[in-house]
Symmetry: C2
Subunit: 186 residues, 2 copies
């Protein structure tokens, strides 16, 4: 279930899939700011075809995030009833961080997209975002989290954390600092 279920010609559907795989490949090698021109080339289609399927780079990110967003959504709903209330949020946010940094440079775009309701990333990740918000609400109700942060803010903040240039992953100890900062420590 990696592409949208719209009715379309077989070649169009195939091009979508090929483009998405090419994008993952190119992004993995060159980072998510790589020229989309290269993606079209590697997919073996014309530039116009790429822009038809993915009107903007953000649409590519949204497509890339589709599967992880589904997993993260499910995981958030599971964690809602997990026994140890204090560790639910850290655990989920680490998974989110891993998913958002799967391709170098993507997490900032994902975090920004989640803060903008008009973005394709926000559309794709809406269920995940809602489930995380529920998780955050419960943590807040139980007094584990400072009350002045919203779900969107947390996701945007984590997405913005500086990266290790070598791996593209969030560098240590930024996530730990943020998790500590979110805790209520009276």
């Amino acid at each position: 279930m990696t592409s949208p279920a719209k009715r379309q010609r077989a070649d169009a559907r195939r091009n979508y899939d090929v483009l998405l795989e090419a994008a993952k490949d190119v992004f993995a090698r060159l980072g998510t700011d790589a020229p989309l021109e290269i993606v079209a080339q590697e997919a073996g289609v014309g530039r116009g075809t790429l822009y038809r399927h993915f009107p903007s780079r953000e649409h590519v990110f949204a497509a890339i995030m589709r599967d992880s967003a589904e997993l993260l959504d499910a995981r958030a709903r599971e964690l809602l009833d997990a026994p140890d209330g204090a560790t639910r949020l850290p655990e989920w946010l680490r998974l989110y961080d891993r998913a958002a940094t799967e391709y170098p440079g993507m997490s900032g775009h994902v975090g920004d997209g989640l803060a903008d309701d008009g973005s394709p990333v926000a559309a794709t990740c809406a269920p995940m975002k809602a489930s995380f918000a529920a998780l955050l609400d419960r943590a807040r109700a139980e007094g584990h989290v400072r009350p002045d942060v919203t779900a969107t803010q947390v996701l945007t903040l984590v997405g913005a954390l500086p990266k290790d240039p070598a791996t593209g992953r969030t560098a240590e100890p930024y996530l730990d600092v943020v998790l500590a900062g979110l805790r209520i420590t009276t």
Copy 2:
């Protein structure tokens, strides 16, 4: 003391000053990712002249930061002996955040530059960075700060915090979250 003290022709020196003022003006209006072409135009010089004085956009940021870095350096040295140990770091980091966000989009570049010893920003801000490191060391020694963060990491993290799109300033409550996360709270 806004431009380097190298010996140069009067017109060159004047062009440097005009370009820097133009950059501030353009950055204030269009953000720090604005085309440098516009800066050259507004300064009334050719593109080549701009690149002669500022080989890269980072060099412009370094020049823009020169004065604030001097102030921040002085302030850090003052605060080293301030009475209330727990508030020294927050106070200074708020000032740093204000300076780095003076032009929309600049703080990320400044934070990245400070983490890269080869960058012109790192060169310009070296005294400031050293003074801040001393401040951080003392806070660490007094047990106010978690021991696993370096000065560079703190400055890069603060520079990376998400911005309010309207003002370009660090949005609330990100800096508060980070400051809380840096504290030792046993």
